[in-house]
């Protein structure tokens, strides 16, 4: 361990360049994964709140475009095994100076899932604001949504960023605002084992609706797939950029230290010893870069989360699983990026030492 550290210290400039390059790549992977994971996790959590089953318009790609007849919810509520079913209208509109804000029209029975900080739940002509947007808009008494003014009846706190930065109103007002009856029903069951029977019964209600378990819906939701795929692609690019950075820097390092590896070969050190030596040097850099990237990512996510500009909609989530996955990715990046230059170093002909000597 001492020798790789000494070698890194001796070659400070190039070590720093590799370290910075790796830190940036690893932080990019952390941030894109955490942000996309956070978006998916927030929206999933919102749907999962009191929702074992979700009912949407059939074949719709996005819940925001879903339009179903809310009178069907009365029938759903009376089905055997259904504990409760709430109606939601999901939309987005400009609110005062903010160009786009999530708007949630909810049935009366859904209001209890919001933790009120002050005021009361909204009646017609009123809205309830998430604490984040309430702060961003500097404690307004009224807000204008799509050119219509609403009185602020109360403020709620939600751990879900989309809700905390959003506006909640009753179904009638939301229906008028977005010209639809309902977007989705969220159905909670007495017993999850009854889900198949309830799903079957709900799906028979109308050919225009589709019921899925919330888990199934989240797994097959196109928007999540798009976010996940985009995140994976960007993460993969960051990974490749990291590898290319290491390959080019390590090639320069090997070239600078050609005599060192030549002498190692001449005294009989095996190729694998030389490869291992270089791999351990990069591995040390990778671990240090990982630690710095992790800390930096936490800091950046904290800044983004609290930036008024983002209205609390970007809530990055660095889970233990993500930390482990990125650690593995960092190690692989270091090993893959170093292998070729290390292999070249292990093949350096000691004859080059004689030729250099000029004899």
């Amino acid at each position: 361990m001492i020798t790789p550290l000494k070698a890194l210290r001796k070659n400070r400039f190039k070590t720093s360049l590799i370290f910075v390059s790796m830190s940036v790549s690893i932080a990019a992977i952390f941030l894109i994964s955490a942000i996309s994971g956070g978006v998916v996790s927030m929206y999933s959590a919102m749907l999962k709140t009191d929702g074992d089953i979700i009912v949407t318009q059939k074949g719709i790609a996005d819940t925001f475009f879903s339009d179903i007849n809310r009178s069907l919810n009365d029938t759903v509520m009376n089905m055997v095994g259904v504990k409760e079913s709430s109606v939601l209208i999901l939309g987005a509109a400009p609110v005062d100076t903010l160009p786009i804000v999530g708007i949630y029209g909810v049935s009366e029975n859904r209001f209890k899932s919001y933790s009120l900080k002050q005021g009361s739940i909204p009646s017609q002509g009123e809205v309830m604001l998430g604490s984040k947007i309430y702060e961003t808009l500097k404690h307004p008494k009224t807000v204008t949504l799509s050119k219509k003014e609403f009185r602020v009846s109360g403020v709620f706190k939600s751990r879900i960023g989309f809700e905390d930065g959003g506006v909640v109103m009753n179904l009638v007002d939301a229906g008028e605002l977005f010209h639809k009856s309902a977007s989705i029903f969220l159905v909670s069951l007495n017993d999850l084992s009854q889900s198949d029977a309830v799903l079957k019964e709900v799906n028979l209600l109308s050919s225009e609706i589709e019921a899925k378990t919330t888990e199934n819906f989240i797994d097959s939701y196109n928007q999540f797939k798009i976010i996940k795929t985009s995140s994976d692609v960007i993460g993969a690019m960051a990974f490749l950029m990291g590898i290319l950075g290491i390959v080019s820097m390590m090639s320069m390092v090997v070239s600078d230290r050609k005599a060192e590896f030549g002498i190692m070969r001449s005294i009989g050190l095996s190729s694998s010893t030389i490869i291992f030596k270089l791999l351990s040097e990069t591995l040390i850099i990778a671990l240090a870069a990982y630690a710095v990237a992790l800390g930096t990512s936490f800091g950046i996510l904290e800044l983004i989360e609290n930036a008024d500009k983002f209205q609390g909609y970007i809530n990055g989530e660095i889970t233990v699983t993500l930390m482990i996955n990125v650690l593995i990715v960092s190690v692989v990046m270091a090993l893959v990026g170093t292998f070729l230059p290390a292999f070249y170093a292990s093949r350096i002909d000691p004859m080059s030492l004689i030729q250099r000597g000029g004899a």
Partner: protein, 210 residues
């Protein structure tokens, strides 16, 4: 270890630099290969020391050709030491660490530092000692695994005459203890220390004398 070169010819591209060399290096001897620049002495040394494969002919080590020696890295590590014109000490390692780098057993490191007169410098780095001391450390590195033979290419090329003679004396001393030395040099003073002198000219052995 007895080394026999048989019918060695070597080309760099179309240029023939060795033209039928037959020599024998006896175990434990101090052999000097001398000659002008371009005479082929360095190429011959490289071939004898396994660093270079001859275009024609072969070299036998105790009767075995290179391909019969097994793992070449292991063979070099246990049987051969190298000293180059430049010391090639690794700058981020102390003299002691440089010597121990390829050591099979570290126990020899301290005794070598002692016998080469650099034990007081063992924790210094190469840029903290003189040229002669660096070359002594390089010699210690070559001797650390008690090789049968040490090959040295112009080992005094970067040293003043006093340090150069010191290096020859060291070779002589270790040679008397049983380690063979094959040294390529254009410095004729080496003849005063060597057991055998092989004089090269235009790619052939001009003369072998004692």
């Amino acid at each position: 270890m007895k080394i026999e070169a048989l019918g060695i010819e070597h080309f760099y591209g179309h240029e023939k630099v060795l033209n039928g060399v037959d020599i024998t290096i006896t175990p434990g001897s101090f052999t000097a290969i001398i000659g002008e620049s371009g005479s082929g002495k360095t190429t011959l040394l490289s071939i004898l020391s396994t660093l270079l494969q001859p275009t024609f002919g072969n070299v036998q080590y105790d009767g075995k050709i290179l391909s019969e020696l097994g793992n070449i890295d292991r063979f070099r590590r246990t049987n051969i030491g190298f000293v180059f014109q430049f010391h090639y000490l690794i700058s981020y390692l102390t003299l002691r660490e440089n010597i121990a780098l390829g050591a099979i057993e570290e126990s020899r490191v301290d005794s070598l530092l002692e016998s080469l007169g650099i034990s007081n410098l063992s924790h210094r780095y190469s840029d903290e000692v003189s040229g002669g001391e660096r070359q002594r450390a390089a010699i210690a590195r070559a001797l650390v695994n008690a090789p049968s033979v040490v090959f040295a290419d112009e080992p005094t090329g970067n040293l003043d005459s006093k340090n150069a003679l010191g290096v020859y004396e060291l070779f002589r001393e270790f040679s008397l203890q049983g380690t063979g030395f094959v040294v390529a040099s254009h410095d004729k003073k080496i003849a005063d220390y060597a057991d055998v002198i092989i004089e090269m000219e235009d790619g052939v052995v001009k003369k072998v004398y004692k």
